[in-house]
């Protein structure tokens, strides 16, 4: 085996693992993602030296993570993932007939204090995990894997309208959950 790969694993393995863990939230999946990345890196050595090795490996890893996410989604029936009923009318839960907020959004901010901040972030994380399956999938693609809407539509085979309605609902749900579980009093 070329020494390169061993070096890569030694120098960047921990970082790649953390990068994967931050997105997949599962140690086994994160290990698998690093392994797949290393295999792809030796198989298809396209490193051209115009970026750092770490940037190059992270680029491969990003694709592997999205592949894994895609597989998880594909294992579920399509009807569980895509909200085909996502129409304008289905977004009325938060507003009255005249389009006014039923419950006005409350003010909250990111706490400065480290302990408080970590509490805030764990509430946020828990709220994201609690999103309905359909909304969680698209929300993760958009805001954890930071994919563009156009690619998300291809990935999930949905229309742009469907995508924005689902994203809107996910964001509305998440901010409501945060408000209920974080804002005190």
């Amino acid at each position: 085996m070329s020494n390169n790969v061993n070096d890569w694993l030694n120098d960047h393995g921990d970082y790649l693992y953390r990068f994967a863990l931050a997105r997949l939230k599962d140690t086994h999946q994160a290990e698998d993602a690093v392994q797949e990345t290393m295999l792809a890196a030796i198989k298809n050595n396209s490193f051209e030296g115009d970026s750092s090795i770490r940037t190059w490996l992270t680029g491969i890893l990003k694709h592997k993570i999205i592949d894994m996410q895609r597989k998880l989604i594909r294992e579920q029936p399509v009807s569980d993932i895509i909200d085909l009923d996502a129409t304008d009318e289905s977004m009325d839960d938060f507003f009255d007939k005249t389009g006014h907020w039923l419950d006005k959004p409350q003010f909250f901010d990111m706490p400065d204090h480290a302990l408080e901040q970590s509490q805030f972030l764990s509430v946020l994380d828990a709220c994201m995990q609690k999103l309905p399956k359909k909304l969680k999938a698209i929300f993760m693609f958009r805001h954890v894997h930071e994919m563009e809407n156009e690619n998300i539509c291809k990935e999930l085979d949905i229309t742009p309208t469907n995508a924005w309605v689902m994203l809107y609902r996910a964001r509305m749900g998440l901010r409501k959950c945060l408000e209920m579980n974080w804002v005190k009093g």
């Binding site: 085996m1 790969v5 061993n6 694993l9 393995g13 921990d14 970082y15 790649l16 693992y17 953390r18 990068f19 863990l21 931050a22 997105r23 140690t27 290990e31 690093v34 392994q35 290393m38 295999l39 030796i42 198989k43 977004m91 009325d92 938060f94 507003f95 005249t98 389009g99 006014h100 907020w101 006005k104 959004p105 409350q106 003010f107 909250f108 901010d109 990111m110 901040q117 805030f120 972030l121 946020l124 994380d125 994201m128 958009r142 805001h143 954890v144 809407n149 924005w164 994203l167 809107y168 964001r171 509305m172 998440l174 901010r175 945060l178 408000e179």
Partner: protein, 85 residues
């Protein structure tokens, strides 16, 4: 004049693509007068900043390392892959 519902939809869409000039003007006008929608916009921003922070906290935490057994497994896998080629 936009309703809060319409304004919230535009605020959400602005996270995905730039709004048209007309949409932007309508939204600005609404936000000048509506505290609730301003707080909503702020909430979404905090939410996205928070999600990014959750990731960078893990990425920068050098205490989290690729477990040794996983490392060994990956090295073995790379070796056997090399031989089979």
């Amino acid at each position: 004049m936009l309703t809060c519902k319409q304004a919230s939809q535009l605020i959400s869409q602005s996270l995905d693509h730039p709004l048209s000039w007309y949409e932007l003007m309508q939204l600005r006008l609404h936000l000048m007068m509506c505290g609730a929608c301003n707080r909503f916009k702020k909430q979404l921003n905090i939410l996205l900043i928070g999600l990014r922070k959750i990731r960078t906290n893990i990425e920068n935490n050098s205490a989290i390392q690729l477990p040794l057994d996983a490392k060994t497994r990956i090295v073995e896998k790379l070796k056997s892959n090399q031989h089979s080629q």
